[in-house]
Every structure is written in C-alpha cells, then in structure tokens.
Amino acid sequence: MSVEPSLEGLREEALAALASASNEAGLEQWRITFFGRQEGRMTALLRSIKDRRVDERATFGANANRLKQELEGALEAKQQDLKDAALKALSTDSAIDVTLPGRPQVLGRLHPVTQTMRDCLKAFGDMGFRVAEGPEVEWDRYNFDGVRIPEDHPARDMWDTIWVNTLIEGKRHMLLRTHTSPNQVRVLERTPAPPVRVVVPGKCYRQEATDATHEWMLTQIEGLAVDEGVRMTDLKGVLYEWSRQMFGSDRKIIFHHSYFPFVEPGVEMAIDCFICRGDGRACHTCHGTGWIEILGAGMVHPEIIETAGYDSSRVTGFAFGLGVERVALLRWGIEDIRNFYANDVRFLQQF
C-alpha cells in the first residue's frame, strides 16, 4: 500500500522540522505548526478526510491517522531525547563541586558526662536496674552514720566533706553528699520488702584540690541489689556485663580487696588495660600494671540490711559506686578531668 504523495510530503517535512528542533520552544513551535487546533497542518489534513470522495475516504483516512500516530510518536521520542540531553548536561556541564561545604544546620550535643551516664544507666537498665535519685545536699546521718561511718571513725578521711553552713540545734548536720551511697539508705528506707534493684546517678562533692584526675564536683552512679540469693558472683557478673558494654566485649575484670564500711566483703574492681593490653611498658592509663582501677563495690553490710527491716540471715545484697567522669576519661582517652566542667564548647562539641 502506497502512501499518498501529499501525505508523504507532509511526513518528510514534519520529520525534518522535528529533527531540527533543539529545545522545548522549538518543539512547541513544531507542535503548533502541525498539530495546532486551528491551523495545524496535520489537523487540517485530518479535517479534510471528510472532503474526500467516498471511495477514497477509508484508505485516506487510515493513512492520515497512521501518519498522525507516527508524528506524535516522533514528537514524544524527540521530547525524551531533549530531556535526556538536558539531564546529561545537568550532570556534566552543570556538575557541582560536592566538596563545597554543606549549608550549616544547627546541631547541639549532649555533654560527654551526660552521654556516658546514659550509656551506663542503659547497661544497668538492661539488667533490670531502675533509676532512683536522691538529694545532693544531704544529712550527715545518711551520708555517714547510715552507711556505718559514725563521727570519729577514721573512714571519714576517705571523703573530704564540704559542709553546709546551716546549724540544726547548734550542730552542723547538712553537707554536700560525698558519694551516692546515702541513697542506698533512702531507697531501703522506702522499700518495705525486697527485692531492690536500683542505680542512683548524681553529683557528689569532695573538699579536695583538683588536678588532671581529680575534680571536687563529680558524678557517680551507685548500684544496689538486695534480695534473697544475691551473691558476690552476681556482683561480678553485673559489673562484668557493664564493663563489656562500656569498654568492649573482650574486657576482663578482676576484684581485689578493699574497704568501705558499708560493705562486707569490700572490693575494688579493675578492668584489663585496653590501651597497652598489659604489655607493661610505660602505659599512662594503667601505669604498667595492666589493670585499670575503675570502681568500688561489695556485699551490703548485714547491719544495713537489718536497719532496713529485712532479715539479714536470708536477704543479702551488693552495692557498687562508680565515677562517671572516670569512665568518660577512659573510654575516650581524655587526659584531663578538668575539661568536663570548664565548659569550653570547642571541647564539648567533639563528643
């Protein structure tokens, strides 16, 4: 079947014009020329079908419609080509320098001590410890007497106390807690029966000179688990899990003997030095011993269990206290504890 000469001419003309269109405007011009609703040549052609002789009408009509479809197809293809070319140009000629800085967005950060605190609480929380807080300004009867450190006991030397200038009946009883242990007593006091399983986070204060490893304001986490069947091996297990979460799953821990009046037995826990891995040479972190002292712990003294109103022959417990700043120093290799409360944003922003 041959295409009518008039159709063929239109076809060639249209395709040539389309080929020479190089942008959206050109395409639009082409569309108007050939498919414009009023004057479009293709439109006119289709409109002229009805003027044909009856016997030609069917063939001509079919041919004309075929041509219309072909040209429409060509237009679509051309449009696609132009789009592709434009995109190509976007990724080549208009490529951006992706190494230019991003547009600044604000971003604040939590203090490294807050972050470390939360990580610790999370680790203990996963083992069923609930958070319980207590006051920073305390009575001496909680800070000392309640944890078996009466006045005139040499163990009071272990904590240099900042006393509040308030006299109660002529005597000084108010102080800034030197450790979070008074909250052991407070928690037991308000818990009529075991089990108890809490962690007590908070600030503590010591009357002491500061240096790279000592601050007079410090953050502690006290842990306390009291129930029938709580053993020293459980204490070791809990602290082992915590150590692994904070310092890596290949950590080892050891207990060695220590003394705190409110526990019996009392221990100090050390983790194996993950800096030098115990090669012993001039390590600033473990001083060549291969072990890093990290916290104090022990089994709750039966007297404290009894004071809580529990039967110490059946109920046992453990307690531990750790310094959050020390953990933060170790996990990030920070050299000077005084960085934490100097509040230099240039330091804080890095964590």
């Binding site: 604000v106 920073e136 129930d227 020293m232 809990v238 934490f340």
Partner: protein
C-alpha cells in the same frame, strides 16, 4: 605506709619477683601504690663492702687523709676528706667507673679517678649522698661491723621500699608484722616472730612508778616499764636505715627503739625521762577545760574536757595517743627511761587529733583500733631492744592497768553463709588454713560450722561476714565465676520530673544548643548579677563552711549566671552563633531542712546566624530565636504555651516574656539587659530562656492530643487586619485559632506585621493566613465567606480590628 622488703623478709621468706608480690598484696591485702628500689644503680662489681685498715695524714693537705682499705682483693689507698673515717670501720668502697651521685652537684656520673693534691687514689669511700641514699654528705656511710668484706653493696644494703596505703579499719597493717602475716597467708610460707627475750634486774617497776586510770572508758589499758642507766647515743646503722626507709628521722637510741617497735608491730610507744616524771606517778584522765601543755613539737596546746591526758604527779606530760609533752622528753641527759605502751578508745584519739589538728604516727594507729594484747607484746619487744642497744637494765615486771579487758570473741561462721555471700563453696581445709595463717583460732564443727576466734590484733572482725571477707580475699576473688541476678524485678519508681528532664535535654540539643555542666557552687556577687534582692529566697543561698575556693562558696539558686558565664567564656573563642544550655538544679533554701533541688533548663543564645559559607556575620539571632526554641521545645513535649510581656530582673523590659502553660508561669524568655550582660563581659545582645521542669510536668498531656487529618481539602484565605499598635498579635491569633463554626475549624498563622506608610498612626497591620477546613465535606466559597465574616466580626468586637482594604 612505707614497707621495706628486707624488713619483711626478717619475718617471712619471700622469693617472688617484686611486681608479683605487689600484685598479690593488692589483690588480697592493701593498695600497693608504688615501690622504690634502693641500690638499683649500684654496680655489683664496682661498689663493695671494704674495711678501713689504716688512716694517715695527707702530705699536702690538712683536711684530707690517706685511707687504706681492704676490699677483698688486697689493700688499696685512697684520698678521703671525711671527718668520721676511722680504722676498723666497714664502709662502701667504689672503684673507677662506678655510677655515683656527685656530692657537690647532685648529678649522676661515672667515677673517674685522678690524683688529689698530688696523691693517686685507687677509689672512693662513699657518703650516703654519693650512694643516693640521702642528702647527707657530712661524712662517709659506716656499715654494720659484721658486713662481709668484698660483698657487693647492693646485696648488703639494697632494698625495695613499697609505698602502701592501708585501710581505715586495719591498724595492724601499719606494722611490718601485719604485712608479714598477710604475706605468709597469701604465699603459704611460715611466719617468724621477732625476738622478745630480755633479762630483768633486781629493781621492780612497781616500786618505781604507780599508774592510775581515772577514765577507763578512754584508757582501756596502760602498761609501764622502766629501763635504768641507759647510755643515750645514736642507734645502730641498721636501725637508722630502716627508720629512714620508713620515712622517720633517727634521733637517738631510745627514741629510735620506740619508733622502730611501732613500725614493726603497729603499736605506738612513748618514752619518758623517768627522772622528769614528778611524783613518780602516772595518771590517765580527761583534761580540765582549758588545760594546757607544750608538746614535743614546741607548740602550746589547749584541751577540752573530752580529751585524754597522761599526767604525772603534778600535771600533764602528754596527750594520750597523740603526742608527748616537752616537759618529760627523753634527752641526751636521760639516764632512766619510763616506757608507756597503752590502748585508748579509737574514737577519742581521733576526735582529739582532729580538734587539735595534730595527726601523728601514733594517733593514726590508735584511731584505727589496736589489739588489747599489743601493749604487752610491744613492751617485751622494746625491752629486748633496750637491753641490747642502750646498755640499760630492765626493771622486773610490768605495771599493767587493764580495766578494759574483754573476754575473747568467738564468731560462728556457717559454711552455708560463706556460699550465700560469696556464691561459691570454699573447701573446709582452705578455710582452716587461711584463718590459721591469719592468726585466727578456727574449729570446724561438723557438719557445716566454724567456730572462730579472731586474733587480738584484729578488732575489726565482729561478725561472720568479716571472717568471710578474710576467707574470700585470701582464697582469691579470681576464683569467683560471674553469674547473673535471679528473681523478680521490683516495680519501677515513677519519676515524671526525671523523665521530662531527660526529654527536655534531648530536645534542647536537637534544637542546636550545646549542653554544658557548670559547678553548682558559685559566689554571691555572681549570683546577684541575675537575682534581685527582692527575691528573698534566691538572694539568700545556702553557703558552705569550707568551699574549695571563694568563688564556690554558695549553692546556686539560679542557673542564669552559670550560663551567661559559659556564654562569655566561649565568646572569646567562637565567632558567630552561640547556643548553650544546662539542665540542673537550683538549690532553694528551706528553713531547718534540706533545700529544694529544683530542676531547671536554662539556655543562652546570641551572635550572628551562620551564613551559607558557615561563616559568622549573618543576621543576628534575636528574641524570636529564643522564643522559637521555647515554642519548639514545648511543642516537642506536647505542652501548649502562651507568652505575655514580663518585667524581670536582669532582663530588658519590652523584650522579655513570661512563658505560660495554661494560666501558670513556667519560665521566662527574653533579652538579657545589656547592663547585666556587661557584668559578664558580654557586649552583644544575648537572650536567655529558662523553663522550670517541675512546673512543666503538671501540664504534660497524658497522651498527645490527636485528630485524624481531614479527607477534604482545606481552603486558604489571606486577610489583613488593622488593629491598635498595642494589641498583641498573639491575642489575634488566639481568637482566630479558637474560632469554630459548626464542623468548620480555622488554623491561623501570622505572616506579616507592618506599621508605617498606608497604616494610620497608632495602628498596625497584621497579615493572617487562614486555613478553613471541615472534616465532613468539601467547603464551598459560601461556607468560607460565612465563617470568615463571623471571625472578623468577633475580632472587631473584641479587639477593635477592622479588615484592611475592605
């Protein structure tokens, strides 16, 4: 305490390497902080023991002498300047190449021999300073007479000195014997006892002195002995050496013996010059209020009536357990020595030494609690040494006043309790061995009980768990496996303030603020920069008695100064925007009670917004940045906030708002008054926001208010209103947002505020964008027009607003 390894070895064999011994002691006994090696630099070949066989004058120098020594390989002559060199002495002799400390410069150098004033010298006779033992360069070091000639000095004199901190409940570890016992128990070696034997003269102590204890509650035991006709002189070299290694200065043989026995046993002793004891009578009694005594250190001290004094027939001669008096001190003229060894109530000694601010080697031991049998033991040990080293005659017997005698304690330890506490069973034979090695008497009572008598020197042992600790630490905590807690979990405590505090902390950081933590103690001047006198609660903070520094003397009642200080500090280093916050307590005093620790979020911001290029110098942060942060934060926790102008101390009026939740003020946001900012050295506009977490908690929705998004399209309409300039825009918005008509609601936003050309004087134009929506149908133009009309009428009625351009 300082512990000499050589001294320790006198009582127990130690064949472990030093680091291993230290590790074992740390694990089981006490904190070995470090150790020092004495003689580490002494070349075993080049520094040896030698004997002085001849001393002759130097031909060319009056001050120098020619000394001939026998060092084991024949005699050698050296030139020596020491005044104390004498024939027959054993001395330390160095040959060429030995590393020594230069006696004049103090530097380490290898010995180079050269002729001195024309005479060749084969080596050098050494002083303590040259050996690095002390600063003493007055004369040469004289060794014990039995020191073998030719023995390397490092073998003769070398030692390890441990620096150990011991626990507050273990006075026995402030003596070498205590460590010997622990070492024996840990390593399984046998322990040797010191020599106690001595002869007694025909004189009886009891005839020479009477002792009375007036206050047996404070003085539980008092023993006295008498040594007559002593020759006061220096103590032997070995004793001096051990005292020095222990950090004590040798004085004379009598004083040195008392110190030596204290260092060995842990029990303090006190020597009086017997002839200075008036009335030949000793009384232990409480001081009279205001009574005075000049102590050995030359300081006059005044006592209260809770302090125990040791007195003679006429008055005080010593503060019991702390320090002796100058009036009865042993001196070069002393002939007869009265030796006091006593036991005092620990708490009393601690109180006395604390009140007098006088902490001595004696008080440190007494306050920890010593065994009641120790005085007698220490007497025998001291008398043995007095006889051997002072030439004195020991009078027969002891005066022994012992009102505090107690029956020996027995503690029952159930084997099951060991397992209950430690979590493991310890074999019976281990329990028995450990306790016996530590000096306990231990009987196993089948089927599962131990009857245990703690040794006298361990008054810290009171209950079964104390014994279990000793078993555990010697048995080894490394034998404990790790187990996990069992049983039911307790119910959590509800702590809404704490939970909200942590959410607020997260939100503040998310909004671009850097968290900071400041010291919670500040000073009055700083506090008052942001706290008005009229706020009587906050302007009267709690003070502390003994602050670490003057600027930390008061518990802060406001976080505002802390944050402004932090801002100022960082402004010195950082250009551009600064946003810092802290969540912490303000400590609000309560009469005769602990203060209220109120949880507060305080944040400060200022500076210029970052530009596209992350450089400072963009638009300045202003009030609306601070307010926007408050709005976002409150939106984050689901609290609806309102703002109203507020006058607040330290803030710029007209630029400060109260933050309200419901009708309650929960915080403040505003520009810090430039005068107050200047007090912190801030010279740019700076904005502060503060929210009280406890007040916010009350406004937390139980759950977020929620409505499903409408399926029908909303209609947007912008209108402009003319209102009086004084009408707060917030009020207009509030009305628009609360306006409803049937099922149609409006959400409204403000998008312009304009005063000036085209707006009448005293008026302002507010441009509002209104979104109309119904949740049951698509709105028609008619619906919208009707609702809008209603709103405009309301705004006109309530606020006198008129629709602009209509």
């Amino acid at each position: 305490m300082k512990l000499s390894l050589n001294w320790l070895r006198e009582f127990v064999d130690v064949d472990l390497p030093v680091p291993e011994l230290a590790r074992l002691l740390i694990d089981a006994t006490a904190e070995v902080e470090s150790w020092e090696t004495i003689g580490a630099q002494w070349d075993a070949q080049r520094i040896r023991v030698a004997e002085v066989v001849a001393v002759e004058p130097h031909p060319n120098a009056d001050r120098l002498r020619l000394v001939t020594v026998e060092a084991g390989h024949g005699r050698q002559q050296v030139v020596c300047g020491a005044p104390n060199v004498a024939v027959g002495q054993k001395i330390a002799f160095a040959t060429e190449g030995a590393e020594l400390v230069d006696g004049h410069t103090g530097e380490r150098a290898k010995l180079k021999l050269r002729p001195i004033r024309g005479v060749e010298s084969a080596g050098m006779v050494l002083s303590e300073k040259e050996l690095g033992l002390s600063e003493n360069h007055e004369g040469i070091l004289v060794l014990r007479p039995e020191a073998p000639i030719g023995r390397p000095l490092v073998e003769e004199l070398g030692d390890i000195v441990f620096d150990i901190s011991t626990w507050a409940n273990r006075a026995d570890l402030l003596g070498v014997l205590g460590f010997a016992r622990e070492t024996a128990a840990i390593t399984g070696k046998a322990m040797r006892q010191p020599a106690l034997s001595h002869t007694q003269s025909a004189h009886k102590v009891a005839d020479a002195i009477t002792v009375e204890i007036e206050d047996p509650d404070l003085c539980r035991r008092f023993t006295a002995s008498l040594i007559e006709n002593v020759s006061i002189g220096p103590s032997p070299q070995w004793m001096q050496e051990r005292l020095q290694k222990s950090g004590m200065r040798p004085i004379n043989n009598v004083v040195d013996i008392t110190n030596y026995v204290m260092l060995e046993t842990g029990q303090p002793l006190h020597a009086f010059d017997y002839d200075l004891v008036r009335g030949k009578r000793i009384v232990a009694r409480r001081a009279k209020q205001g009574e005075k005594l000049t102590t050995l250190d030359g300081v006059e001290r005044e006592f209260d009536n809770e302090m125990l004094l040791i007195c003679d027939g006429e008055g005080p001669v010593g503060i019991a357990g702390v320090m002796g008096g100058g009036n009865s001190e042993v001196s070069a003229n002393t002939r007869n020595v009265l030796l006091e060894i006593a036991n005092f109530r620990p708490g009393s000694i601690r109180r006395t030494s604390a009140y007098l601010k006088l902490r001595t080697e004696a008080s440190l031991r007494f306050e920890k609690g010593l065994g009641m049998e120790m005085p007698e033991f220490a007497q025998h040990r001291a008398l043995h040494l007095f006889e051997a080293l002072t030439g004195g005659a020991v009078a027969a017997g002891l005066v022994d006043m012992y009102p505090g005698r107690e029956p020996r304690k027995t503690v029952v330890v159930e084997a099951a309790r060991i397992e209950q506490v430690l979590g493991i069973a310890v074999p019976t034979e281990d329990v028995r061995r450990i306790l016996t090695d530590l000096g306990f008497v231990c009987h196993f009572v089948p089927p599962g009980k131990y009857s245990v008598q703690p040794p006298d020197w361990r008054p810290d042992i009171e209950i079964a768990d104390d014994v279990i600790e000793d078993i555990g630490r010697i048995y080894g905590y490394d034998k404990l496996p790790t187990t996990m807690l069992r049983g039911v979990l307790p119910a959590p405590e509800v702590a809404p303030v704490r939970e909200l505090r942590e959410r607020v902390r997260d939100l503040a950081a998310a909004l671009g603020f850097q968290e900071t933590i400041s010291y919670t103690l500040t000073d009055m001047a700083r506090l008052k920069r942001m706290v008005p006198e009229s706020d009587t609660l906050r302007s009267n903070p709690l003070g502390v008695v003994n602050p670490v520094a003057a600027q930390h003397a008061y518990l802060r009642t406001s976080l505002r100064p802390s944050l402004l200080e932090t801002y100022a500090l960082n402004r010195r280093n950082i250009d551009g925007a600064l946003r810092v916050f802290e969540v912490g307590f303000e400590y609000l005093p309560i009469e005769a009670d602990l203060p209220h620790e109120g949880t507060v979020l305080c944040a400060v911001l200022g500076g210029t917004r970052e530009t596209r290029w992350a450089q400072a110098g963009g638009e300045r942060l202003d009030f609306f940045d601070a307010k926007g942060a408050v709005e976002s934060l409150l939106r984050g926790i689901g609290v609806k906030a309102a703002f109203a102008p507020r006058t607040e101390f330290g803030f710029l009026e007209g630029h400060t708002a109260e933050v309200r939740a419901g009708k309650e003020a929960v915080g403040v946001v505003g520009q810090v008054h430039p005068d107050h900012a200047a007090m912190f050295d801030i010279d740019e506009p700076v904005f502060l926001l503060e929210l009280r977490v406890e007040d916010l908690v009350r406004h937390l929705p139980e759950r977020p208010e929620y409505s499903a998004p409408s399926k029908f399209p909303e209609v947007r309409q912008d209108i402009a209103l003319l209102v009086d300039a004084a009408v707060p825009a917030g009020r207009v918005l509030e009305i628009a947002r609360s306006h409803r008509s049937g099922s149609i609601s409006i959400s409204a936003g403000l998008f312009d505020e304009y005063r000036g050309k085209g707006v009448p004087e005293g008026k302002k134009s507010l441009a509002l964008r209104l979104h109309f929506q119904a949740n049951d149908r698509t709105l028609t133009d008619g619906d919208v027009a009707k609702v809008q009309q209603g709103l405009v009428v309301r705004l006109s009625k309530e606020l006198g607003a008129e629709l602009r351009g209509s």
